[in-house]
């Protein structure tokens, strides 16, 4: 009888081992070049988030949540942050948050341009799309294998894994957002003599912003999940709290880590989700929200005012 194990005659593992060893040795400058900006941004974020006083952080976070989302989200943010501190894992939470914010920065810097490129070139999309498919169907856990092989272990390799896992949704949504812009809008741009670049900056990108922000929300959530998983390759943060708790069969410690993770995830999700929601037919949530930051009236109220004026004035020739 043929046994399954009889077929395992090919030493695939050692081939890959050799291959990766060769790649790691010969393409070392490439990986250093990838690692360097990640490390730089990550360290900066870790430094900033740990230096900022607790109360100042809570104040800024609550203000952001209020302006970008709503009063409810702001209240929830305050409670969640205080709870995380009360659980005694504030420093770890800040490390996790550093992993996430770094991922946002790098994903935005790399993912949005790639997404734009994909939207403008079917050929590029044809190449990128299957890669994204593979990346998004790969379980987060499996990401760790090539990362460890190529970048080693620790917080910075962990961040590389976080960025790699979190980038696909942003690329996808950017591509989608630009392609979804109505043809009549694009044609209006062309008909008035827009160059390709003007078309992108004046028409396509602004109209794609809500969709891109939707992608950003996905990216944040993926980064959140991944920032926990990468504890397994030695990255610090809340994930490590859970992992250590499990390792020592310290259920209490593991649960503390878990609760803090959930709270942080919910705060991030609520804020970024509100950001991405199209704020009415105007569809300018980000700009309006950001503008709202510097104005006395809240964005939600802006909308209400706008809504009221629609039905108000006479339809015809109001000025003549």
């Amino acid at each position: 009888m043929l046994d399954a194990d009889d077929l395992a005659v090919f030493p695939v593992d050692s081939w890959i081992q050799d291959g990766v060893a060769w790649v790691a040795l010969n393409l070392r400058p490439l990986f250093l070049a990838i690692k360097w900006p990640v490390e730089y941004v990550l360290n900066l974020n870790i430094y900033l988030l740990h230096e900022i006083p607790f109360l100042a952080f809570v104040a800024v976070a609550v203000l952001l949540a209020w302006r970008l989302a709503s009063l409810g989200v702001a209240a929830f943010t305050a409670i969640a942050l205080v709870a995380i501190a009360a659980l005694g894992v504030w420093s770890e939470a800040m490390t996790t948050l550093s992993l996430i914010t770094t991922a946002i920065v790098i994903c935005a810097a790399v993912g949005i341009p790639i997404g734009i490129g994909c939207a403008r070139s079917d050929r590029m999309w044809g190449v990128v799309r299957p890669v994204l498919d593979i990346m998004q169907t790969t379980p987060t856990f499996v990401y760790l294998v090539p990362v460890v092989m190529l970048f080693g272990v620790g917080t910075v390799p962990g961040e590389v894994a976080v960025v790699t896992a979190a980038a696909p949704p942003l690329i996808r949504f950017t591509n989608l957002g630009i392609r979804m812009v109505e043809t009549e809008m694009v044609e209006a741009g062309l008909a008035f003599g827009a160059t390709k670049r003007q078309l992108l900056w004046e028409v396509q990108l602004p109209l794609a912003v809500p969709t891109i922000l939707g992608g950003l929300n996905q990216t944040v959530l993926t980064a959140m999940v991944m920032s926990v998983v990468v504890a397994m390759i030695g990255a610090e943060g809340l994930g490590l709290v859970v992992l250590q708790g499990l390792g020592r069969l310290d259920v209490g410690r593991a649960a503390v880590g878990g609760i803090a993770i959930v709270l942080l995830a919910m705060v991030l999700d609520r804020i970024t989700q509100k950001l991405a929601q199209p704020g009415g037919p105007g569809g300018r949530p980000l700009l309006r929200s950001l503008r709202g930051l510097f104005r006395a009236d809240r964005p939600v109220e802006n909308q209400a005012v706008a809504g009221k004026t629609v039905g108000g004035p006479a339809i015809a020739n109001p000025d003549q």
Partner: protein, 395 residues
């Protein structure tokens, strides 16, 4: 009238390799045949037309007849497959990228059916869009935007967003955006079709009002014949990518030339469309007495003209007969109760002016008699059968 835009033998087939289809079309094949044999959709099949400067040139036809394709070829949103499009003598089809951009920025602008306003920009920002693309400084373009917004009656709406406006107001913004660049040629593809009937009529009046002072050359696409009649100085009718009829509104209604065209003209209110000239009997004055001539009105009587062609009076049938046989003197027999209408008056106005038993004189701008009109001819002009002996369409 000079010519602003000229389309010569324009073809558009929607295919990456248009040659086989173009060859079939050149040999006289029609759209349907090409579609069956090659699977290629023909948008335009040998279209030639000439748009005079300052005209509102209407293009109409059933859905799928190629109206939009024609309009979009003019600013090359659709790439023509063959033929020439001359804007003031310059061929647009062969223009390079930069040249084309320049044409789109400064010489041809467009108003869209569904407005195509950018929702993330205010009314003023939308209006100055074209100028922004040209790199005009913010202060100058904002000033220009305010100018054109007040022209279209939206002076105080600059800081609002498009979603705060009604459909009619949005299309005014679309119009303002097109006017802001000072382009001479406007392409309006079903610009009023998305508006409800009342607003639509209002926008048509507005366009006519604006056109009186702006004198743009407008290519206006519509599938509404009433709209074509109301706005158009000339009308082109398309079917299956071909131009099947072209002419003034009156001439098209008078002589549709085919059932396809006639189907559009059936519901037309001819009394508003046709003028006195189209129904009148042109006069052939015959000498009557020294310095006077006679134009017969067809009922036995006639109108008496002086040397300059001005009407001095009318003679009824009995008097005229008496005059011819007897040699009575003319002076006190002339009736002064004739009705005068201008040759450009609509038949509706003519019918209103008509009085039973009084002869009707049709005069030109200088007051000279050009024709006479009797009740039966007015009715014939309003009814759908074209009057036989009329002066015909002045196309």
């Amino acid at each position: 009238m000079t010519e602003r835009l000229r389309v010569e033998n324009l073809y558009k087939v929607f295919s990456k390799s248009p040659e086989p289809a173009l060859r079939m079309l050149a040999q006289g094949a029609k759209k349907a045949e090409v579609l069956v044999k090659t699977g290629i959709v023909v948008g335009l099949n040998d279209v030639s037309l000439s748009v005079p400067t300052g005209a509102i040139y209407m293009v109409m036809g059933l859905s799928g007849s190629g109206k939009s394709t024609l309009a979009r070829c003019i600013n090359r949103l659709n790439e023509p497959s063959a033929g020439r499009i001359l804007l003031d003598g310059q061929d647009i089809v062969t223009a390079g990228e930069a040249e084309l951009r320049d044409i789109r920025r400064t010489r041809i602008s467009m108003v869209f059916q569904h407005f195509a306003l950018l929702p993330n920009r205010t009314v003023a920002e939308n209006t100055e869009f074209g100028l922004k693309l040209q790199g005009v400084s913010p202060r100058v373009r904002r000033q220009r935007a305010e100018e054109v917004l007040s022209i279209v009656g939206l002076a105080r709406w600059g800081n609002h967003y498009p979603h705060e406006l009604s459909g009619g107001m949005r299309q005014r913004v679309g119009l303002a955006r097109a006017l802001a660049t000072d382009a001479d040629v406007l392409i309006m593809d079903e610009a009023f079709s998305a508006l409800d009937p009342l607003i639509r009529t209002e926008m048509q009046d507005e366009l006519l009002r604006l056109q009186r002072s702006l004198k743009k050359t407008i290519l206006f696409i519509t599938h509404d014949f009433q709209e074509a009649l109301k706005l158009g100085t000339r009308i082109a009718i398309m079917a299956d990518g071909e131009l099947v009829r072209e002419g003034t509104p009156q001439s098209i209604v008078l002589e549709p030339g085919s059932d396809y065209v006639a189907a559009f003209t059936r519901e037309v209110d001819r009394s508003r469309l046709f003028d006195a000239r189209s129904a009148m009997n042109p006069v052939q004055p015959v000498p009557l007495a020294a310095g006077l001539s006679l134009a017969e009105t067809g009922d036995g009587g006639g109108l008496v003209l002086d040397d300059a062609g001005l009407v001095v009076g009318a003679l009824d049938a009995d008097t005229l007969r008496a005059l011819r046989t007897g040699g009575t003197s003319l002076g006190n027999l002339l009736r002064k109760d004739f009705v005068t209408v201008h040759e450009c008056d609509s038949l509706l106005d003519v019918a209103r002016a008509h009085r039973a038993g009084r002869p009707m004189a049709v005069v030109d701008g200088a007051g000279r008699l050009t024709g006479t009109l009797a009740a039966d001819r007015i009715l014939a002009g309003i009814a759908s059968t074209p009057p036989q002996a009329a002066g015909g369409p002045h196309a």
